[in-house]
Symmetry: C2
Subunit: 179 residues, 2 copies
């Protein structure tokens, strides 16, 4: 939903003067991908970093549709950075006003979350999930290939998969076997 | 973990001058049990209310033991009152320092939480749960009797049930059939 990679690049340039090309981040963990990784760790604890993150293209429109068709929950790993709790809440309130507070979950680990489908860019969050696993492409996961995950590259693809399923009544379309 | 009823009674007295006996709260929803319920709603939105809540007797000691024996998560319905997010985080950090941030979940609804055992004082939180349901006695639930729940009246009882199970290898001890 939030384009954190773009936010890293913007804040890194503001802090260091160095403009990083997102292609140089491919395949690397975000906190190690930048030449001076200590800045990235600092951003995560800096007020305003999460609150001002840009919205990922298509996420608002597609989630608004999914919200009508599915029982939708927003589950965000926020607990490592406590100042992010209220920032993420306000960010959701501003950019995704159709999301009710009952639908929001802030956690550390996502091990206790159950559901039918989880969309996430981190293997560590999807790994324990009991339902379908949609791996949202991000710079850090782009070269990783694992069984049991369906890769989705953007929100339009998610719409195709999940609203397609609904309209076609064809659950095979999002099977991990097709990943 | 937090004794919210005592906190209501204390804050109500400070705000109105009226001392409420907890026995007068028995069997009533908390937000309707006080003569001027609008104060209760206001407390829930007032900075400091959650941060200064007293710790329930026995909760620290018993949860510290459970934390060694079980995979423990603290799941708190915090999202309705966004200012409570950081307050509840800091409250846990102060009073339950053995709880890691990875173990904390703040949510609105608890519908997406899965696990083996849930302890909660609200039927609405336990209702959708897929495991054993331990109903923690509170003024508002004291007269309610429903099938499928095991009532626990305090943390010492919880210790007896859950550490007893572990030591005796006797899962029947916490079966809802015995409730």
């Amino acid at each position: 939903m939030a384009d954190i990679t773009s936010q890293y690049i913007k804040w890194y340039k503001d802090a260091t003067g160095t403009e990083i090309d997102w292609k140089d981040l491919l395949g690397k963990p975000e906190d190690l991908a930048f030449p001076q990784p200590q800045f990235i760790r600092e951003f995560l604890h800096t007020p305003g970093f999460f609150r001002s993150a840009p919205v990922m293209p298509g996420s608002r429109e597609v989630l608004s549709e999914l919200n009508e068709a599915y029982e939708l929950f927003i589950v965000s790993a926020a607990m490592e950075f406590p100042q992010s709790l209220i920032e993420k809440y306000e960010w959701l309130e501003e950019h995704f006003p159709f999301i009710n507070w009952r639908q929001i979950v802030f956690c550390g680990s996502k091990k206790m979350i159950s559901g039918d489908i989880m969309i996430d860019d981190h293997f560590r969050n999807l790994g324990n999930f009991n339902g379908e696993k949609l791996l949202f492409t991000a710079t850090h996961n782009i070269y990783t290939h694992l069984n049991g995950y369906t890769r989705v590259n953007n929100w339009i693809e998610i719409k195709g998969l999940l609203m397609g399923v609904l309209h076609n009544q064809d659950p095979v379309i999002y099977s991990p076997l097709k990943a």
